[in-house]
Structure formats: structure tokens, C-alpha cells
């Protein structure tokens, strides 16, 4: 992907934060992560985001496929609670250092 000029960049994803894993008081289930999507604060608003793809993007020291940047893909699966938090499943479980990190919530697969 070639990005020619700086102002040609577009943001086609919504920013989100990884809150942690799905858990109870003393047990956690790492196969599902919890994500807080920016601007979403109620369970009804989450409906739009269900099924949308997520990417957890991180940097590494070694180069893979000519790049230091790596990505774990996932999907929004269901709402979590009443306040707009969302459950997400990733292709491989998110690493624990992802807690508090950013996640990109894309607008596809789109249904509009």
C-alpha cells in the first residue's frame, strides 16, 4: 500500500481499547477479550458494530514479511453488559500486554 502524501490518509476504523479478558472475580477466559469502542456507551449502540472486524496492531523487534508491524485479527461478537463494552474473539487469543492498548474496529463487513 503506497501512501503518497500525508493528507491522503483516511481513517476508516473506529478506535477502541482492550479492557482485558472476559472474566469473573477470580477466573479469566482468555479466548474472549473485552473491548471498549470509542463513542459507544449503550448496549443498543453496539448493534451496529456486531460482526465488524477488529485488528490488534503491535510492533516487534524482528521483521516478518518485511515489516516490524504485526496484527491479530478478530471480530466483535456480542455486547458485554449495558454500557457499550463489547466482547471480541480474535484468531489467536490476545496477549496480556494488550490490556489497555488500542484496537482498530473496522466498518466492514458492512450492512448499510
Amino acid at each position: 500500500m503506497v501512501k503518497e502524501r500525508k493528507h491522503d490518509r483516511v481513517r476508516l476504523f473506529v478506535r477502541g481499547r482492550v479492557l482485558g479478558y472476559k472474566r469473573s472475580k477470580s477466573n479469566q477466559y482468555e479466548n474472549t477479550s473485552l473491548v471498549q469502542i470509542e463513542g459507544v456507551s449503550t448496549k443498543e449502540e453496539v448493534d451496529w458494530y456486531l460482526g465488524k472486524r477488529l485488528a490488534y496492531i503491535y510492533k516487534c523487534k524482528t521483521k516478518k514479511n518485511d515489516s516490524n508491524v504485526r496484527c491479530i485479527w478478530g471480530k466483535v461478537t456480542r455486547p458485554h453488559g449495558n454500557s457499550g463494552v463489547v466482547r471480541a474473539k480474535f484468531k489467536t487469543n490476545l496477549p496480556p500486554k494488550s490490556m489497555g492498548q488500542k484496537v482498530r474496529v473496522f466498518m466492514y463487513p458492512s450492512n448499510i
Binding site: M1, L12, V40, F106
Partner: protein
């Protein structure tokens, strides 16, 4: 398959799945087989079996018998249907591409191809997007529509977009050492097709105020914009 009459409801109501209310002899009477037989002189009407194809004269015993009985897989008769087009996407709709090389660009939808993919064009001179295929899931349909009546898209189908097969490499010493640079030039035919589609489109676009600029601009999310609240 020959068209069959719609089957009427079974005359044998089910008490429990697998157990009908009436016995075989009762059903024989209900179906009226006795009446049909009477009509045809005592026997149920049937036609003669088709003459079987003559067996090929020389049938040699096979040279090889496999040791184990291998089950042949059942042939797959499924024919996938093209994806159902969303009601918001009609020919002439302006779409926003969400991913890929042209993400964020606003393009004009032309038609749905038999594979289910959508045929779109920039138009090329407006925003640099050529005639291209796009999957419905990676597109947002806006409520803006362009008049597409002057455009003829009948000649485009999935075969038009198929990649050219690489020529079979001749394994020779020379080709090993030579780095063959395959010149990938866009054939003039494709350029002409692009022009043919775009010219009537651009006329229709110029007719609407601001539409050309709109199509030239990319869509982006800004701070504070929530896509779930946006009206496209």
C-alpha cells in the same frame, strides 16, 4: 427434471412421525388404485421399460483391483447463488470503499456481476478508480445517486476481469540466467472500455452541483464522529 404437479396434501394424516392413521389396505382404497385398475382393464397402467443400451462388445477385465473398498465421494451438486444485493445499492448509487487500495474513495456502482461482486467505476478521471470489482461487504452505500441511464455495461462480466495466465516457463539454461521482465501494460481495449463507460457518467455528474468534487474527495472518520450515528 420434468416439471411435476404440486403434490397435494397426503391423504394419510400422521399420528406420530412415522405412524399414519390409516393402514396400507385402507390407503389403497383411499388413493383409488382400485378405480384406476378398473379403468385400465384390471392392471395398473405402466409403460414398457426403455430398451437398455447395448453393452460394449469388448469388456476386458480390469488390470488392477484396489485392495480395499474405497468409498467414492458423493458429487457436489451445489451451485452457489450470487450474494443478495442490499436494497440500498441500486445502479448509480455512490458507494464508499472501506478497504483495499482505494479505501475511502467514493465511487459509482454500475451493476452486480454474476459472481455477486459489484462492478464500480470512479469515474477514473474524477478519482482514479478504474472499472473494478468489489465485494458488497466492503462497501457503504450512500443515498446519493448518479444518473446511469447513458451507460452501457452489458459487456462486462467476471471473465473480463480474469487475470492473464502466466506463460509456461520454458526450462532452458538461458531463461535461468536472464531475468525476464514481464512488461505489464494495460491493453488499449481496457482503456477504451473505461472511456466508454466514463464519458456518459461524467456528463451526468457535471449536471449535479458539487457532485464531481464529492466523488473526488475521500471519506474519513474524524474525531468525535460515530459511524453508528451517521446517516449515509
Amino acid at each position: 427434471m420434468a416439471p411435476s404437479k404440486p403434490r397435494s396434501k397426503s391423504r394419510n394424516p400422521l399420528l406420530i412421525p412415522g405412524i399414519g392413521k390409516f393402514s396400507r389396505s385402507k390407503m389403497y382404497h383411499k388413493r383409488g388404485i382400485w378405480a384406476i385398475k378398473a379403468k385400465h382393464g384390471g392392471t395398473f397402467p405402466r409403460h414398457d421399460p426403455k430398451p437398455a443400451a447395448p453393452e460394449p462388445a469388448s469388456k476386458k477385465p480390469p488390470k488392477f483391483y484396489p485392495a480395499d473398498d474405497v468409498k467414492t465421494p458423493v458429487p457436489n451438486r451445489r451451485k452457489p447463488k450470487p450474494a443478495k444485493l442490499r436494497a440500498s445499492i441500486t445502479p448509480g448509487t455512490v458507494l464508499i470503499l472501506l478497504a483495499g487500495r482505494f479505501m475511502g474513495k467514493r465511487v459509482v456502482f454500475l451493476k452486480q456481476l454474476p459472481s455477486g461482486l459489484l462492478l464500480i467505476t470512479g469515474p477514473f478521471t474524477v478519482n482514479g478508480v478504474p472499472l473494478r470489482r468489489v465485494n458488497q461487504a466492503y462497501v457503504i452505500a450512500t443515498s446519493t445517486k448518479v444518473d446511469i441511464s447513458g451507460v452501457n455495461v452489458d459487456k462486462f462480466d467476471d471473465k473480463y476481469f480474469a487475470k492473464d495466465k502466466k506463460k509456461a516457463y520454458k526450462k532452458s539454461e538461458s531463461s535461468f540466467f536472464e531475468t525476464e521482465k514481464q512488461e505489464k501494460k494495460l491493453p488499449q481495449q481496457k482503456k477504451d472500455d473505461q472511456k466508454a463507460v466514463d464519458t456518459p457518467l461524467i456528463k451526468a455528474i457535471e449536471a449535479v452541483e458539487y457532485l464531481r468534487g464529492y466523488l473526488g474527495t475521500k471519506f474519513t472518520l474524524r474525531s468525535g464522529t460515530k459511524p453508528h450515528e451517521l446517516q449515509f
